[in-house]
Symmetry: C2
DNA sequence: CTGAAAGCGCTTACAG
DNA sequence: CTGAAAGCGCTTACAG
């Protein structure tokens, strides 16, 4: 790899001048400019971003940390979407992005990014307190996406999950369903918890019967677990004559739907099924899944825009951004 | 952020000594070592990887470039899997990875990675010649995954798609299907082309009738396009009394299956459907999709292992690694 | 075993 | 408008 010194020699000017024409800032005569640019072109010279970062104390790199126990991570139907949006936005803002996935919530990945001196960090998913504390200690700007935190002042972007849960309940209720069974993902996870709460709030408000016996608590938020729990509660489900199912995310709902279809239960004819997220599979399946859409594209984009502000020490108005979800009605639900 | 100089002062030794105890190479008395480590611990000092890279001429960063016209990219059901595998492997080998997605096959992303002085590059998907030439010019090690190239000596990892196509034909034929309709993805793409060729080769070898009128050429390899083309060829399909469909990837097959189900055609009762890749959706759907599995996990892992060898100037035996696909029989195909 | 010095490839005042 | 010098935070011979 060539360097600025070589360019300087070949074009007969000093390193300083070369640097000035490359950066475009500072003076340089047209003549000098032309000579330098010509040599750069000929030699296909690419400025060394590492050296630049060294002196400017800015790497123009950001790190995305995704913590998740289960596979997949980058290709996860929900987190993958956020990642895609981040990648696109960051690129348009001239940031390169390190993507790190971790299965245990260790400090290792975070430390790695810190050593690389990323300009900022985007943390996806729920994080344990010690990780947040650790990162906070180093003064690197960071933003949390789709996760919760008790630490005041931590900037985070979330979906209005409670209102989404409420919409789901309103939709199913509106269709005439009186007996709705809920498959609730891990309640330690903000989203699953709030979706359940929103749902419950609506039902209680309408004085529709909906209690703990109508809820199955899952150990993970996967397709397999949705299927497994549907199977486990099948007898209970039949005995209570439920007519609808709400899963706190699409994969869970899809798992349950798979079980129903294997048992020749018609969806939505006999049982309506509804999920949350609106991942790619939801619209592909037959029947297509009614769900509550989370604006992952906006989540990713906002994360980049806000992180960039933090990095450049610009004021950020809101510390908590809440995105409004959107009810997407498809074939898996219909009037009872 | 603190630096080595500060650590040196606080522990009463020179920067050189601090550097030696951190790197673990070179001499340092136990006493010096203890003092330094203690200070590092107290100050939560993190060595600056940028500075290290500067002098060692090694960033320990690799770049992953994914070119793809359509969304999604990182969350793509197939490429996303490869990416996940790369992320996991790279991390275990102490590399950080820059992920770049690009919609036009420009040199911009590549140049960006080059400027960042990545140790190596993993190129996913088909690349145009000029991109390869461009990257090759800079002497940065790179590996192509799931793409083709005419440039001799370029190390690439691919699936044995031809043999997979052949297996698909053997499977459907073996079930007694005589009239099979193929939905073929873009033939400019190596995988789709070879899958078709393998399939055709088997049919021809068995003297089963299979010609151009049995093939629909799609403009993209998406679910939507699979659906669209199935619709477009529906009359043709019925008039020829096809009993099976082979899509050159799962998404295509799934799109076709969606169309069939919407028209109350039973799968596999009336028509068997088969795909290729074995993405996550394939096993989730009802009926689950028979497919040919591509070992994306191994692809990603090998890419990292081989790239690491190239980076360290170790000999790499093979220039072309071909992975054996595996037939996965599920519910969407059955004896005719 | 230890420290001073040079150097990685840039940028940034500063003097001219 | 231009160039010499210092410095970003490290590592690596080298002399002691």
């Amino acid at each position: 790899m060539r360097n600025i010194k070589e360019i300087a020699q070949l074009s007969g000017v000093s390193k300083s001048t070369v640097s000035r024409v490359i950066s475009g800032s500072g003076y340089a005569s047209q003549e000098a400019r032309d000579k330098v640019l010509k040599v750069i072109q000929e030699l296909q010279y690419k400025p060394n971003a590492v050296a630049r970062a060294m002196v400017s104390q800015r790497t123009h790199n950001i790190g995305v940390l995704i913590y998740r126990r289960e596979y997949p991570v980058a290709s996860h139907p929900f987190y993958g979407k956020i990642l895609d949006a981040i990648l696109a936005s960051a690129s348009s803002m001239n940031y390169s992005v390190f993507v790190t996935t971790d299965h245990e919530m260790s400090l290792r990945s975070a430390d790695f990014m810190l050593e690389k001196r990323v300009d900022g960090l985007i943390l996806i998913s729920r994080l344990e307190q010690n990780v947040i504390d650790h990162i906070g200690k180093f003064g690197v700007p960071y933003i949390m996406v789709n996760g919760s935190t008790d630490v005041p002042g931590v900037i985070h972007i979330v979906n209005r999950d409670q209102s989404g849960g409420l919409e789901a309940a309103r939709h199913l209720s509106g269709l005439g369903h009186k007996r709705i069974f809920m498959l609730a993902g891990p309640q330690s996870h903000r989203s699953h918890h709030l979706r359940l709460e929103g749902f419950r709030a609506y039902m209680n408000g309408q004085r529709v019967e909906f209690g703990d016996s109508d809820i199955a608590y899952l150990l993970s938020s996967t397709f397999e677990e949705g299927y497994r729990m549907m199977k486990e509660h099948w007898e209970h489900f039949r005995s209570r004559a439920y007519t609808a199912i709400f899963g706190t995310n699409d994969m869970i709902a899809l798992g349950a739907m798979k079980f129903l279809m294997e048992h020749s239960i018609s969806v939505p004819g006999q049982v309506a099924v509804m999920g949350f997220d609106d991942n790619d599979v939801a619209s592909i399946l037959t029947p297509s899944l009614t769900t509550v859409r989370v604006d992952t594209e906006k989540m990713g984009r906002l994360a980049c825009v806000m992180l960039d502000k933090l990095i450049r020490h610009e004021p950020v108005e809101e510390t908590a951004v809440e995105l409004e979800p959107e009810l997407v009605i498809r074939d898996s639900t219909q009037r009872f």
